[in-house]
Structures are given as structure tokens and as C-alpha cells.
Amino acid sequence: MGASEGLTEWVRRASLGQASAFSELYRRTRPQVARLVGGFAPLDPDEVEDVIQETFVRAFRALPRLKEPGAFESWLLSIARNRARTRLERKSSTRRLEEDVADPEPETVPHLPEALQLERDIEVVRQLIAELPEGEEKRTVHLFYIEGELSAREIAEKLGVGKSAVTMRLERFRSRIKRELLRRVLAGRWE
């Protein structure tokens, strides 16, 4: 993906302490982080904003230790998901307070798959979406991930369901993609 190649150069510059590189990384990646965090149904807009801020503070602090600049976006999004989850667990009074989820250590971030591999992964995901039976889940996935313009809340309004229904559909689909990706990683290791 051209976008992530461009990112890598800014990650290198940021790790050298260039202030403008941090701005550029923030500008380019904030939309993805906001989309990810905004998809967590029980978080209100203030909490989403706090989680976004905390994500970048943690990532920027640890960035000089990031061994694999090409992994920046995946690493950043992992941090964002952890932060959002931690915030949800703190918020929920019915669940016990769990330990703060640890961020992935920047030193141990593994190499990313080759660009070719990534393109294949994208094809697989598109295929899986195409193969979904026609219905609400497919429509939701299409609106959120393929068109990528409406927020989870807006999709809920459009489809006339609650935001948590949208989030559940997206999470369900995501866990299927995660299984498929894990399988591919494992198959690659075995070969």
C-alpha cells in the first residue's frame, strides 16, 4: 500500500525527533484511529476523543524504540484497540476491573508481511465480503469498511437499528477476518 510506504519515512524522521514528522503522522493516521475507536459502541464522543489522545501519546512516547518502522500503523492500531478496551472495562461496573491491557512492546514488533502478501490479504478480505450472504451484516460491513464514509452511529441510523447492533455485526465479521488471517499466518509458518 502506497500510504503505508509513505508513513514509514515519516516514522523514521519522527524517531529522529523531527517535530514536523509527528504532526504528519498524526494528520495521516488520526482518521484510522478515530474510525477504529469510534466503532466501540458504549464510548461517548468525549471518551472516544480521550482514547484517541491517549493512543497517540503512548505511541509517540514509545516511537523512538519502534524497531520496525513499517509496522507503525498496525502497532498504533493495536494500541488504540487496547486503550479502547481498557476504557470500556473501566467504564463497565458489571465486569471486574481488569489489569490495564499492556501495549505491544515496540522492540518486539515483528516484520510485516511483504507488500505482495498484503495485497493478497486484501484480496482475500474483499472476497470474504463478497461471499457474505445478502443481508444486514453484509450491508453493515460494506457501509463501514468498503465505503468508509459513515460512522457506526450513522450506519445505525440509516439501517434503523441501535449502534450496538452495528458494532456487534462489525465485530463478528472482524473476528472471522482475524481467524482467516491467523490461519494464513500459521500456514505460512508451517510451510
Binding site: A3, S4, G6, F22, S23, Y26, R27, R28, T29, R30, P31, Q32, R35, L36, P45, D46, E49, I52, Q53, E54, V57, F60, R61, A71, E73, S74, W75, L77, S78, R81, V101, P104, V109, P110, P113, L118, I122, V125, R126, Y145, I146, E147, G148, E149, R172, R174, S175, R176, I177, K178, R179, E180, L181, L182, R183, V185, L186, A187, R189, W190
Partner: protein, 267 residues
């Protein structure tokens, strides 16, 4: 049949050959048990980030042209300064406090310093932009929740939170900066202005400026423009200038100084 669990995930992370082989085959087919486990647990490794990066990368990428969220970045920068632990507390003041503030309507008003008769337009705006005049009143809320109005140059303590109320002649946008003696102004936030008298509040609620960790002279700058926000960097340069040229712009600039007495240093 074996499904994913904590033990299996550990074995996969350590690349245990038998486990890898088993799950490479098992996960080739949909499995509700394993998918539920994957949804509720992180990893292995950066898998979650890779999945999200992949999924969020499917939509046309607008991030190359995304505008910089200066307010958000400024908040990140401030939060990254470890030597000022209190600063990141800026932002939210709970609803009960908003109610307290609403009860305080007799705050004195300052004349806007920058609302003179100058006609030169703000260079960042299209010509003929409406002029906006601002007035500002400031109240301090102490750690017991009591509010008191402040005159300019009042002495406050570092346990106080400053709350702002403005009067605007037009709708517009304001930037709020905080400046410590000898340091450049720092952007605290961007706020919509509504014509009339209102509490300063953003999408996150009522704005309160925490003074925790501060001492000495602290200056608040409220910079308003009719319409959209003026570029924060340009405003910062204007505020820092030896001879502030904002008097010749369409901006309304209000300065409010307080002197912070650090509670911990008191005898």
C-alpha cells in the same frame, strides 16, 4: 475437538510445531468458539493491528489529504510533557459545575483589547469578513467547588480551575491559548462562538483551565474570529510578536492574566 484458548495462543506465539499445524487446519473453517475467543483476546502478536489496518485500509484513503487536527495534536503534545502533570487535566468540567457557573451571572466584563476600529482585514480571511467583538469574564473554582469572580491580575492558587464566559457580537470561532511567563502560548482548544453571552464550551463540554502545576504569571488569550477558526500557528506568532499586529486584523484578542500562588510552597 481442540479450540483456541490461552494455552493454545501461548503455544502459537512460541511457534510450537504441532499446535501451529493443528490450528492452520482447524481455522480453515468457520468456528464460532475460536472466533469468539479471538474477538475477546488480543493477539497473537500484532495480529489485531494488522486486521484493523487491513479492514480500515479497504475504503478509499482520504488520510493523505486529511486536514491536520491542530487542537487534537496540541492536546497530545501537552499530554506528552511529563514535567507538567496537571496540565492534561484541562478540558472537562462536569455538569454539576456547569450548573454552579450558570448561577454566577454577575461576572464583570472586560473590554476586548482587539476590538478597536482598525479596518485592515485578517490576512487569512477573505476580504470583507465581519468584525467580531468579544468580552470575557473569568471565574475561579476552588477545590471545594466554590466559585469566585476574578479581576485581571488576580491571585489564584494552583488548585483553582478557571472557567470562562464570553460575550460575542457575532457567531464565530475562538481559539484559547495559555501562556506562562517567558514561554510561547500553547493552544488549549478551539470553541464555537455564539452571538450573545455564553459559557465557553466545546464539543467536550464546558471549558475549564486547570492551574495544577503552574506558578507565577499565567496568561489566557481568547482569540475570536467571525466564521471559521484563524490558523492557530499564525495566531500564536501574532501573540508572540514584539508589536502584536493583531490590532490590525479582524481578530478580537482578549488577554487575561492571573498570578498563581503554588499551594505547596506556602509556609
Amino acid at each position: 475437538m481442540r479450540h483456541l484458548d490461552d494455552g493454545a495462543l501461548r503455544a502459537l506465539t512460541h511457534q510450537d510445531a504441532a499446535t501451529v499445524k493443528y490450528f492452520a487446519e482447524h481455522l480453515a473453517h468457520p468456528c464460532d468458539t475460536c472466533e469468539a475467543f479471538l474477538a475477546a483476546h488480543d493477539g497473537p502478536g500484532l495480529l489485531d493491528g494488522q486486521v484493523d489496518s487491513l479492514l480500515l485500509g479497504l475504503a478509499p484513503r482520504a488520510s493523505q489529504e486529511a486536514p491536520l487536527d491542530e487542537v487534537g495534536l496540541a492536546r497530545v503534545r501537552r499530554a506528552m510533557q511529563p514535567q507538567r502533570p496537571g496540565i492534561r487535566r484541562w478540558g472537562l468540567v462536569a455538569g454539576s459545575i456547569a450548573a454552579c457557573l450558570l448561577a454566577v451571572v454577575l461576572l464583570p466584563r472586560m473590554r476586548a483589547a482587539g476590538s478597536g476600529d482598525s479596518t485592515a482585514p485578517w490576512t487569512g480571511q477573505k476580504g470583507g469578513a465581519a468584525r467580531i467583538a468579544l468580552e470575557l469574564s473569568v471565574a475561579a473554582r476552588d477545590d471545594g467547588g466554590a466559585l469566585r469572580r476574578l479581576d485581571p491580575d488576580s491571585v489564584v492558587t494552583d488548585a483553582d480551575v478557571l472557567l470562562l464566559r464570553y460575550h460575542a457580537t457575532e457567531a464565530g470561532t475562538a481559539l484559547l491559548f495559555e501562556q506562562r511567563a517567558g514561554e510561547p502560548p500553547e493552544l488549549l482548544g478551539e470553541f464555537p462562538l455564539v452571538a450573545g453571552t455564553h459559557d465557553l464550551q466545546g464539543p467536550q463540554g464546558l471549558a475549564g483551565v486547570s492551574l495544577a502545576g503552574e506558578s507565577g504569571l499565567v496568561t489566557l488569550w481568547l482569540v475570536g474570529s467571525a466564521g471559521g477558526p484563524p490558523p492557530a500557528e499564525a495566531v500564536r506568532e501574532l501573540l508572540e510578536g514584539e508589536n502584536p499586529t493583531w490590532e490590525h486584523t479582524a481578530l478580537a484578542v482578549i488577554r487575561f492574566d492571573v498570578r498563581v500562588r503554588n499551594g505547596q510552597n506556602r509556609p
